[in-house]
Symmetry: C3
Amino acid sequence: MSRLSLHPHRFFDPLKEVRDIAAELYENVKHLPIISPHGHVDPKLLAENKPFPNPAELIIIPDHYIFRLLYSQGIALESLGVPTVDGTPVEEDPRKIWQIFADHFYLFAGTPTAAWLNYEFAEVFEIPEKLNGENAQQIYDHIRNKLSTPEFLPRALYQKFNIEVLSTTDGAADSLEYHKLLRESGWSGKVVPAFRPDGVVNIAGENWKEEIKALSAAVGEEIHSYKSFIAAIEKRRKFFKEMGATSTDQGVLSPYTHKLSDEEAECIFQRALKGKADAEDQALFTANMLMEMARMSIEDGLVMQIHPGALRNHNDFIFRRFGPDKGCDIPVQTEYTNNLRELLNAYGNDPRLTLIVFTLDETNYARELAPLAGHYPAMKLGPAWWFHDSFQGMVRFREQAMETASIYNTVGFNDDTRAFPSIPARHDLSRRVDCNWLAGLVARHIIDMNEARQMSRALAYDLAKEAYKF
Amino acid sequence: MSRLSLHPHRFFDPLKEVRDIAAELYENVKHLPIISPHGHVDPKLLAENKPFPNPAELIIIPDHYIFRLLYSQGIALESLGVPTVDGTPVEEDPRKIWQIFADHFYLFAGTPTAAWLNYEFAEVFEIPEKLNGENAQQIYDHIRNKLSTPEFLPRALYQKFNIEVLSTTDGAADSLEYHKLLRESGWSGKVVPAFRPDGVVNIAGENWKEEIKALSAAVGEEIHSYKSFIAAIEKRRKFFKEMGATSTDQGVLSPYTHKLSDEEAECIFQRALKGKADAEDQALFTANMLMEMARMSIEDGLVMQIHPGALRNHNDFIFRRFGPDKGCDIPVQTEYTNNLRELLNAYGNDPRLTLIVFTLDETNYARELAPLAGHYPAMKLGPAWWFHDSFQGMVRFREQAMETASIYNTVGFNDDTRAFPSIPARHDLSRRVDCNWLAGLVARHIIDMNEARQMSRALAYDLAKEAYKF
Amino acid sequence: MSRLSLHPHRFFDPLKEVRDIAAELYENVKHLPIISPHGHVDPKLLAENKPFPNPAELIIIPDHYIFRLLYSQGIALESLGVPTVDGTPVEEDPRKIWQIFADHFYLFAGTPTAAWLNYEFAEVFEIPEKLNGENAQQIYDHIRNKLSTPEFLPRALYQKFNIEVLSTTDGAADSLEYHKLLRESGWSGKVVPAFRPDGVVNIAGENWKEEIKALSAAVGEEIHSYKSFIAAIEKRRKFFKEMGATSTDQGVLSPYTHKLSDEEAECIFQRALKGKADAEDQALFTANMLMEMARMSIEDGLVMQIHPGALRNHNDFIFRRFGPDKGCDIPVQTEYTNNLRELLNAYGNDPRLTLIVFTLDETNYARELAPLAGHYPAMKLGPAWWFHDSFQGMVRFREQAMETASIYNTVGFNDDTRAFPSIPARHDLSRRVDCNWLAGLVARHIIDMNEARQMSRALAYDLAKEAYKF
């Protein structure tokens, strides 16, 4: 048996001269409330506030970070209970799923998933031992027992986690019914939606017609033209804003931006309605919608986010059997300097716009993103994202982008997670990495302690709160 | 109030075992004269040797590193006194400009600009306190008083800075009148020009016709053909060489190299004379001129520099109102292996050529540039440039390029600055980073102290002096 | 004179808290046998077991890492005895060659070549002094004397180096006669071939017709069609497997994969037979052959390796005079996400395939390769390759790829060398770097010592043995 304990100095530099400074800075920010301005938690969870089901359904089945790595080692997703869309039966016994996970938990050594899970196990569930194949069932029982107590209901955890505000991500046609329920419930927690129109923007997508139908229904008007489409988007943004949203988000393959004439846009839109839009139409329409979304943001004040560079559903077999978001979205090289130029020229000098740009292509941190954010008033850099939301990934972001962009053109941390109980683990890791990075600057006499204290607080709390207008 | 003092160990590793070695190495190089083989100081400054005006005009208005970051935070360039080209009035009170800068000086924490400025404030101006909004006017007075003393005349600073040679960068048609005045003045300082023909090579540029007119005037012959253009370039190179130049420089979007036939070149040149050269003509003509400049370098012995990869004037609004070099040149991805192949095959095996290649795309350090420089006798690597002339940027250059290229295929440091009083700060930072990098190698037993001493001296002084033929 | 001694803590972190852990981990792996699953040692060496000739022919003439750097500093390859293919005479006195090398040995300070050579000099040849121009001839004598003793015969060194298995790399038509001799000799060493069909796949290559002729001879059937070509490849793979091969390898400019129809493939093949295949034919044919090789690997169980991204023979002058592999192969940017998609969709979910992918473009470590290997069951990452098989290069690979891929989707170390006596030096460096990387994780409390011990052993021995099916 191996005791599970989180070392107070984890992720800090092992050199005492740096570590002590890091620890002092961390002490000042660790209790700050969590601002979670971008993520994928299901609002239903907090609206209904029902107990979480078993450990497998809580931790493994919804987390593509976990099951993608198990899959890479030859473990079938069916055996992990990942639901299929093609009717293939999957393992239904959560204890068996948990056992497979525990048997292979060693695979995660050194990955951010292990860091998050060990925090979750130790801090949230107070599990005394490291998970392995032998204690798997005991730990299963331990977690299951906790989940049945009132302290582990979603809203209780939200309070325990010290969350000040949590943003979800919601489709353009979403009724936001759970957000409504939350508002009406009188609960003190603040959960807001974010407007993500990808489904209705991806005109070459398989489900686009259904998405448009849903959007038509949501606005109570049939969308038969580009003009009515834009009107619907504006209407929905208004509704989201009324429901508390402060931001929008778009996931795009490329951040190419280009304003089409109304005629061009209409022509492409009509092709899409006939089911004939191709990849080029899609690319142009997306480029145009980025321009439109920026314009609307200037008008309605919603913060604009762009998440480019993921080639979705790289593995056809997995996509057909299990659907999207199953760990097979793979980054591609991304270009920003030319692609964002039209948008930045049109709107980047306007202080009313806040444009937060993310990347999965770290080669852009120093080359393109920091110089752009270090010049245009509207542009800010989103934190290290997805595969880069890790110890080394966050270090690279700080080391490569901050000297040119300055931390004041960044927006703090996003946990970007679907895994609700991992939220404090992710913020804790980010705060540790940032404090340790600043400690390294202090120890090298590049900044002083006053600056470091102000900067660590900014990175942990202030920048996110300000940039996202909470 | 916070005391401004430069820690003797700044930028060194906080681990004593490394720091002590770094300090010992630094001790041996810190007093070496400064070789400044590439930069943008105005020779008029030293030729006229007049007192610098006020702190705002000395430090803020000419430095795009400073005002681009202020602009990114929503501060109008007009309020910083940056001169306009479209007649828009700008702030004329240097005290007000200085106050804005001081109010926002915290934005620079952790950036190389702060490192340079703090050195300048502490070492050059002996300012006892850190700049902030409260002491802004006192510090303004302090600097202004210093500037009115003989010790702060440009030539006195040149001597104080221990500069051995300073190269400026000058257009193809430049009369080099200030270089002439300097030579004739009997002053002992060595200031030499470098030949930069970008203005006359950029055939699709708005001002190209005027540039060609000026070049015609400079050579006393009308340039009406490609042949006469090449003859003019050769003539000007000869003149620059006579005036002390040892190098040329070209800023290009891409380092694509390709020799055109005389007919092709002439044809493009004639299109340009008619004002009809397009982007493709421009690209081909530049590719051809890189070949021609290499040929001429073999003939006249001038060292050839290439600075590729900046997309100039990304922000149209700023360009139209304020002109070029206003902090909105943004790097783009750059390719060297294929692009330089024709030039390197034609001239890269010739020991008479020294070709110094720079990059704004760090992905090339290890992948393309180090293998090329580690093979071709003619090719050397320029130091970490522009956005990468920073603590972490220089570390990345050393760590990514030196194992394959060897330091002996590099050329020491370039300060590349317009900001004359920042020169010693920049060389000091570079020497510290290099000594610290070598100290890390010694502490890991990769090199020994004898090697480190020789290498630190080479990086601080010898390599630049030799490569640039001073 | 400067004593040559290898510090026991070389390449470890100078911080005691990390170094002690690194040393402890290293102690556990340093005596593990060497698995050398990919390299370029000539099997003739061990089959004939003749004494090595002189130091120059042993160390300098075959090592492009060494002579490329000397060449970059203006030293003619002729003066180093590098054999020409155009009849140009070269230096034949090994003492003169050795002297030039020794005079310039300082150039290698801080490069992996110096690390390997110093290990070789100190550990293999027990040379007491650092090599320099003055002791060059003494050290020459010292090595030459050693080489004439039985302890320095190739097989004796193989045993001394504690090699468990050594894979060579062999052309498709190779008779494997030396592998046969080795098997028949009764010697206990295990030397196996690997199947590398580049010569017969490169249909636009100058020697392709001769390669095909040799392949025809090897299979005893004339290859006149794509179909007979594929049959020949399958036959040769079978023969290689019988001779002990467990893997294949392909060096390709791009990892583009695409299955051609039989008609398309045949059509291109016929064009090639007529000497009319162009660059596009070559690219398509290679893309198709990667698909075919994957299919065959699933059928016969040979592990598939791909080494993409080297633009071969960048320097025409060197290629014409000295032939291939002369230090002028230069990496190019490489794309994996789109290029490997067809192959991974066809075969990447099949656990019978092991596909080991290498890169010379480190920008792919975190962006494309780690996410792909962290998802597809068939795909594994090859170690830091060629220019990146260095202290910093290996650190970058670990830091950039492991958090997403997990070490368990990697395959340990490859020495990939032609330089037989450098094998233990290379494995020693790799083991040191890995132990030190793991020690850093332990000291930051990211993994514990049990995990580190298991991981260090996996990286040093187990992963290579398992992945390559030894």
